[in-house]
């Protein structure tokens, strides 16, 4: 539980500032500080345990069927990150108290800040890869909101969009990579993934996994060429930049690389990819930083450079290099956060971040100057500070690389050069701000004094930088060694810091120092030279690219979606055809011999084929086509009857009658003929598509029919009598074995009927009817003979349907068929007597009938729950009924009665409402 509290504190604490949003910033800061400090203390309490090598893991079941558990872990690696996140986060909250003093939107900042902290803490304590991914995406989203904090400014909006597109795009790649990783490792739990490193590296998917995961990590950690977003994210308020870019967001990618080290690292591909990307970012950041005139821009590029350095070290792959990377990561977080805070204060006090204007501030802010001096010196790698050691350790590590050739020859030179550049930009951020002559036309005139206690948030970090410089062995032995053990599983020997003071590392750092100072001294001619270079604005390139993509997708959408349903359908069928062609390969003929031809069947098939083709041929003469369609339906009825499906034959017959009636009704409102309008090419295309789909379907059917059948119907045949109490297996399946399905199906039927009812309510067809309608039609609408016959038929038909209904469980019949027969009989009454006449004689409305049917069926199902059986369990018994003799009654009979009611009600609701449309003098009110 303590593990979950770690991220739950800030997550729930994020609600607090919401309630106090209108209060003074001071109170808000205290309220926001509480959950952050709570998490910090929680980590501190766990630290002795995890630094001693313990791994705390806790699982909560989430979706067990998917193997998804909400599991958290805390080991030394997660612990050190959690410590940085919550510790520096607390100081940033204090810093923001000064930054937002007198501004209104501090409440929003603190909410987002705490949410972000929660996401980062969750990220570093995830045990399940998918949980990790959720937190990862959460950081992307919240960083978008944080960067867009001053959303009124266009720069903030564009910077935020860029951040989101790049980091979330990387997140997609990461998703694919992690899922693949989980597949290969056989588990999504980190413990198992890390333990199966050898299997992963040997797998055929290793390169895919590596590249996808690296894409995600590099996009997050702003590695070349995904570095574009980081400088533009500087549009955010300074506390955001200080937090995101010193300790958290950009370190998430680094964390991932360290976390997955045992699973992915120490291969040739890893070395090449990670080292080269790290080298590029290192040099690019260091070089550009020097030429940035924007204070935060300089810090942003220096951050890039340091991230590149850490990535480069991780690329080397050895546990020692990872340890050095970690050493530098801690040092970087400690010196970069104060520098950002300094930039924030100077920005507030002077109203500008332009280094060409900000000069000579030492006499206004002596305290700030001292603290900045220490942090900048650490960044430059001056002796006796944290950066000094990590830089020399890097130099030493670069000399130990023994292959491949390019790394051996280039790497030491490369890192020395980058070291020199970092000296130069560190010198600039310090010297330029606090010395370098007088301030030049600052927007706010004379710099304002800092608020009281404003330096407090910087102080602990600077002190820690000094402590590390004084006692690097302590940091290495007590922190880096256990964390490296947790990350790689290998115990590092104690590092010999004394060896760094002589030999190559010493000379390399001396060279970097001198070179950097010389570079800074020669800055003015270099700036002039740089200003003459063509300016490349990454944001413009990015925006242009995005615009192109949007234009392209819009074009594509218009191509595909032009509003023509015919075209959509043609595209769908084309896709289907391609997929079927691919799927049906090798499917053509099965092993079974063909059975002998049944002559009756052959004749029926011939009629069916002719009728179907005939429908197509004469489809423009709509009434004739409809009649031929009826022929098709009848042949299919005979087909069912011939091949042992009496229930189907009865159903198909009744449905066919009603369907033709409905279509005839509809036809009376529609044009009687279709115009010639398809071009020859169009007809050709459609014939090709239709022929193709038909051929594919025939192939599929033939392929399946010539293969042996392995049916699950044996169970139903065996259990029908003992389990369901009926001999008509089809009906027993419908109302008993698969009763739940049937319940769903009658519900669909009811919904369709009610939809028809609703649609016809406000449909005004009468005006259309009167146009082309032959007045003679009305005169003979209800011929006497039909009327009399219909009256005779009704009781007989109702008797028949009652019989069919009752015997349905044992002989062909049942609720569906009885319902349809009843509906047909009643339809006949409507046709013979007219809507008004018939409606007056109906004792019930149709919608209540439908509702009652569904209710009855559901209640029957629920009834079995009362007796402690699962939903829709049936029971049956034999009863001696008057006149009928012994009858078997099953509880499913009640269920079937519900089905019957729904079928009758739905069918008649549809017919009556369609009929109402054409009754000029019909009942004005609704029918059904």
């Amino acid at each position: 539980m303590a593990l979950a509290l770690l991220f739950l504190f800030p997550l729930l604490g994020a609600l607090l500032p919401v309630f106090f949003a209108s209060r003074p910033v001071g109170l808000l800061a205290v309220i926001a500080l509480l959950p952050a400090l709570a998490s910090f203390l929680l980590v501190v309490l766990q630290l002795p345990l995890v630094l001693a090598g313990e791994t705390l893991i806790h699982h909560w079941q989430w979706v067990p069927s998917l193997g998804l558990t909400f599991s958290l872990r805390l080991d030394a690696l997660g612990g050190i990150f959690a410590l940085l996140i919550s510790g520096i986060g607390s100081l940033i909250i204090l810093f923001a108290r000064h930054y937002f003093a007198g501004k209104e939107n501090a409440g929003r900042f603190y909410v987002l800040m705490l949410l972000f902290m929660a996401a980062m803490l969750g990220l570093v304590t995830s045990e399940n890869l998918l949980v990790l991914l959720v937190f990862w995406e959460m950081t992307s989203l919240i960083s978008f909101l944080l960067v867009a904090f001053s959303w009124q400014k266009s720069a903030a909006r564009r910077g935020a969009r860029m951040t989101l597109v790049i980091t979330a795009g990387g997140g997609l790649a990461l998703l694919a990579g992690l899922v693949l990783l989980g597949q290969v490792a056989g588990s999504l739990e980190l413990s198992q993934v890390l333990a199966s490193g050898e299997a992963i590296k040997a797998s055929a998917y290793y390169e895919w996994i590596l590249v996808l995961i690296l894409l995600g990590a590099f996009a997050k950690s702003a590695q070349f060429p995904f570095h574009l977003w980081l400088p533009h994210a500087m549009a955010a308020p300074t506390p955001v930049s200080a937090y995101l870019h010193s300790a958290t967001l950009v370190k998430a990618g680094i964390f991932l690389l360290m976390r997955l080290h045992p699973a992915l690292a120490e291969t040739h591909a890893w070395f090449t990819l990670v080292t080269l990307v790290g080298m590029s970012t290192l040099m690019l950041g260091a070089f550009v930083a020097m030429f940035m005139h924007d204070m935060k821009g300089l810090l942003a590029y220096s951050t890039l450079s340091h991230l590149g350095l850490i990535t480069l070290l991780l690329g080397l792959g050895s546990p020692l290099a990872l340890g050095i990377a970690l050493f530098h990561l801690i040092g970087h977080a400690l010196f970069k956060a104060p520098l950002f805070m300094m930039a924030g204060y100077v920005d507030l006090a002077t109203g500008t971040r332009d280094l060409r204007k900000i000069n000579g501030l030492w006499r206004y802010y002596p305290g700030l100057m001292v603290l900045t001096a220490i942090s900048a010196a650490a960044m430059a790698g001056l002796p006796l500070l944290s950066g000094y050691f990590s830089k020399k350790m890097l130099f030493a590590a670069s000399l130990t690389v023994d292959q491949p050739f390019w790394a051996v020859s280039v790497l030491p030179l490369w890192v020395t050069l980058a070291g020199g550049l970092s000296v130069a930009y560190s010198a600039r951020i310090f010297h330029n701000v606090f010395f370098n002559g007088q301030p030049q036309d600052l927007p706010k005139g004379i710099p304002q004094p800092l608020r009281r206690w404003a330096l407090l948030p910087l102080l602990p970090l600077v002190v820690l930088t000094l402590v590390i410089g004084w006692h690097p062995v302590g940091l290495f032995d007590f922190w880096v060694v256990p964390v490296t053990l947790a990350a790689t599983g290998q115990l590092l020997p104690s590092y010999d810091f004394a060896a760094l003071d002589s030999g190559w590392p010493f000379w390399m750092s001396l060279l970097a120092l001198i070179g950097g100072i010389a570079f800074y001294a020669a800055r003015n001619p270099l700036f002039a030279l740089h200003a003459r270079l063509p300016e490349v604005d990454a944001k413009e390139i990015f925006e242009t690219l995005m615009r192109q993509v949007i234009l392209f997708t819009r074009w594509l959408v218009h191509q595909l979606e032009n509003g023509s349903l015919q075209r959509y359908l043609a595209l769908l069928f084309t896709t289907l055809l391609v997929l079927l062609f691919w799927a049906l390969q090798g499917m053509v003929v099965g092993p079974l011999p063909l059975s002998p031809v049944d002559p009756a069947f052959a004749i029926g098939a011939l009629v069916l084929a002719v009728a179907a083709i005939g429908v197509v041929m004469i489809q423009r003469k709509r009434l004739l086509a409809l009649l031929l369609l009826g022929v098709v339906g009848l042949i299919i009825t005979l087909f069912f009857a011939r091949f042992s499906a009496p229930d189907l034959a009865l159903t198909q017959l009744s449905v066919e009658v009603m369907a033709v009636v409905i279509m005839m009704l509809a036809l009376s409102f529609l044009p009687q003929r279709s115009p010639h309008e398809s071009s020859k090419a169009r007809r050709g295309r459609d014939l090709f598509l239709a022929g193709g789909v038909g051929a594919a379907f025939a192939t599929l059917a033939y392929g399946l029919l010539t293969r042996p059948l392995d049916s699950i119907s044996g169970f139903f045949l065996e259990q029908s009598v003992p389990g369901g109490g009926g001999t008509n297996v089809v009906n027993v399946i419908l109302v008993d074995f698969r009763g739940f399905d049937t319940l769903g199906e009658i519900t669909v039927l009811a919904i369709a009927a009610v939809a028809v009812f609703a649609f016809t309510q406000d449909l005004q067809l009468k005006s259309r009817v009167s146009e082309g309608w032959d007045a003679q039609g009305f005169a003979e609408a209800h011929p006497l003979l039909l009327r009399v016959t219909a009256g005779l038929v009704l009781p007989i038909a109702l008797m028949v349907s009652a019989y069919i209904f009752l015997r349905g469980h044992n002989m062909p019949g049942g609720g569906f068929i009885a319902g349809l027969v009843t509906a047909v009989a009643l339809t006949l009454q409507y046709m013979a007597g007219g809507l008004v006449w018939a409606q007056q004689r109906m004792r019930t409305q149709f919608r209540p009938l439908i509702g009652a049917g569904i209710l009855l069926a559901t209640l029957t199902g629920l009834g079995s729950l009362v007796f402690g059986y699962p939903f829709l369990t049936s029971t049956f018994g034999h009863f001696d009924l008057l006149l009928l003799g012994e009858v078997e009654l099953a509880s499913v009979l009640v269920f079937d009665l519900g089905v019957y009611a729904v079928v009758v009600g739905s069918t008649l609701l549809i017919l009556a409402n369609l009929g109402r449309l054409m009754t000029v003098a019909g009942p004005g009110k609704e029918v059904g």
């Binding site: 032009n562 509003g563 015919q566 359908l569 069928f573 063909l594 059975s595 031809v597 069947f601 084929a609 179907a612 083709i613 429908v615 369609l629 339906g633 299919i636 087909f639 011939r642 091949f643 499906a645 009496p646 189907l648 159903t651 509809a666 036809l667 409102f669 529609l670 279709s674 309008e677 459609d686 014939l687 598509l689 239709a690 789909v693 038909g694 059917a701 033939y702 399946l704 029919l705 059948l709 049916s711 119907s713 139903f716 045949l717 029908s720 297996v729 089809v730 399946i733 199906e745 039927l749 009927a753 939809a755 028809v756 016809t760 005004q764 002989m811 062909p812 349809l820 069918t907 449309l917």
Partner: protein
Amino acid sequence: MELILAVVLGILTASGVYLLLRGRTFSVILGLTLLSHAVNVFLFAMGRLKTGSPALIGVVDDYADPLPQALVLTAIVIGFAMTAFTVVLALKAAVELRSDHVDGEAPNEDRL
């Protein structure tokens, strides 16, 4: 026999698909009906064709496969409801759009 059935199924499907691709709502309804016939027969045939052996326990010795029959039975009824719904939709469209073209407008008004 299997071959004949497959060919007939292919013809039914092809006719249905061709009608579905026509531009007028009534043809589409015809096509839809033909296509559901094809699908129903296909599903039914998956239980294999047997004459004189309905799945009535005790009446005959050899039983046809009852499961596809049960599936197809409900499919027929729901297919009817769907046809009815499509018909009303077509009527509604014809009234509101003053055209029975599936795109709701005369085909000569070509869109981009």
